[in-house]
């Protein structure tokens, strides 16, 4: 098996466990990627680690909205995500993008919920063009 390509899923599982145990993973991960000549996959590996973390009860969610979110809204979203995915802890990364016009977009590893006005307008336009 030496020399066989290690799947990203296995790498992510290992590093997710290390993170949850409190150890620093940045240097070891970077070192592995350079050694195995897999620097191209770095973005995907990080996504895979986030996915592995969500499987282990820690959810990282990206929230995008057109205006700054209030603490209440963030709490609502956190509660919603906990009930929808069954994880124990949720970390939110927020982003403000005025071009979304309104509403909110939630992205977790492997899923997405897009309630922004921009997306709703895009869907409407697509329906019109296919009709």
């Amino acid at each position: 098996m030496a020399g066989a390509r290690l799947s990203r899923r296995k790498i992510a599982a290992y590093f997710a466990d290390e993170l949850l145990a409190g150890r620093n993973v940045t240097k070891p991960l970077a070192a592995y990627l350079v050694e195995a000549k897999r620097i191209r996959e770095s973005t995907l590996v990080i996504r895979d680690i986030e996915a592995a973390l969500s499987e282990r009860g820690v959810l990282l969610a990206d929230i995008a909205s057109s205006r700054e979110l209030t603490k209440d809204t963030e709490d609502t979203i956190t509660t919603y995500l906990k009930s929808a995915t069954g994880v124990k802890s949720v970390h939110l990364r927020t982003e403000v993008d005025e071009s979304l016009l309104g509403g909110v977009r939630i992205e977790t590893p492997g899923t997405r919920l897009d309630n922004t006005v921009r997306e709703r307008l895009r869907k409407l336009q697509q329906l019109r063009s296919t009709n």
Partner: protein, 511 residues
Amino acid sequence: MPELSVTDLSKELRSAIQSLEVTGDLESVGIVTRVGDGVAWVYGLRSAGYSEVLQIETRDGVVEAFALNLNEDEIGAVLLGGDESVSAGNKVTLKGTVLDVPVGEELLGRVVDPLGKPLDGGPAIKTKERGLVEREAIGVLGRKHVHEPMMTGIVAIDAMFPIGRGQRELIIGDRQTGKTAIAIDTMINQGRQKTGVVNIYVAIGQKLSKIARLVERLKEEGVMDQTIIVATGPSDPASLLYLAPYAATAMGEYFRDNKKHALIIYDDLTKHAVAYRQMSLLLRRPPGREAFPGDVFYLHSRLLERSAKLSDSLGAGSLTALPIIETQAGDISAYIPTNVISITDGQIFMETDLFNQGIRPAISAGLSVSRVGGDAQTKSVKSVGSHLKLGLSQFRELASFAQFGSDLDEATKSQIERGQRLTELLKQHQYSPMGVWEQVASIYAVNNGSFDKVSIAKIKEAQTALLTRLWTDHKKEMQELTKGDEKIADDSASAKIIDKVAKAVAKGFEE
């Protein structure tokens, strides 16, 4: 689409901005990492199932694909359609279903692509039901043995290698030997004899000009309204060529499961195997013999097992399959031909030599076989056809002695002469399938010796004259004969009539 007033729109916008309510569900989403050669590799979508339909959101709308490679780190999805608009970074969602196609009577008379989109310029296909493209074949208990005839109208086949409803009979031969012609004549015969059998013709990678000519010919013969054509050209993506037979089988299963009978022609499965090989190699699956993937047998076996005769409790419908395979230089022991021969219930072997000699249809009586045989043959044809095969095989053995001419004994000479007349009789023009009484009368006349004095070159003329005279003078008896239930023994009434007329006609063509 009703026009949205400006006030409505601003009201919606305002309420959307004010209420940052979370509505809806988190949907699974993946992302395209690379795309090319008709395959999109997708990151994410860990819950995707095998053969599940994926929807890729491109700038030109939604492009569908189906997931065939479920790897640990990514999914290999085959695109249904062009890969021009798909690019890396596109979001991918699950449709939640496997592939299905519209099925039903609304498809009759139409030319469609494997996804059910019309190709004949007519209105969009709207059906009440949809059928699964991939479906398990009926189990043992749901079947009945093949006992009803599927008349092709071609004397050589109906007499010597009869096909029954629910059988799979392979048509195999080199290029340009008349394989498609047999299939077309069978379809035309269903119209002529008003059998009520629905025809489905699947063109897999066939030249579009050939398909167009076929549609015109079927329209001319008045058979198009009971025919469905599923067409894919050589320039269509390999995924569509791969799906075409399965989609068409789903359409045929609709009729089979609803107490009706259908005939499906796969033209041809060699191109189908080649398209599947292309897809498999691009999905990076390991190549096997002749670079075909390891499951190329399963590719055809699961397709052909769906053609069956159902038991009475399931409605007694049937789906008969006529797959076509093209061989190279007559080699029927190559990989794909041997695979399909072992799956089907017999084969009709077309030979280039016979074709070039002018024996058309160029059916090799020695190598062709029908493993269902007697049960599925019309009784009257069976009673006259049993001697036909024997006579021809004996003739084949002695054929090389024919050149000795006068040096032979009488028995050998007469056998050779009879064989030559039978061979001449079995020649048939394209697009002229023959009904039951015509076949019975012709074979009986020659087998009985009535045409023994007719010169070989004039046999076909004599046959035409016989049939014309029988139809004008004895129409009622011939119509009775067409029902097919009568066994033609030498002393039966019809036999005597045929004999009398044949001898009378023969006098005009004696050498």
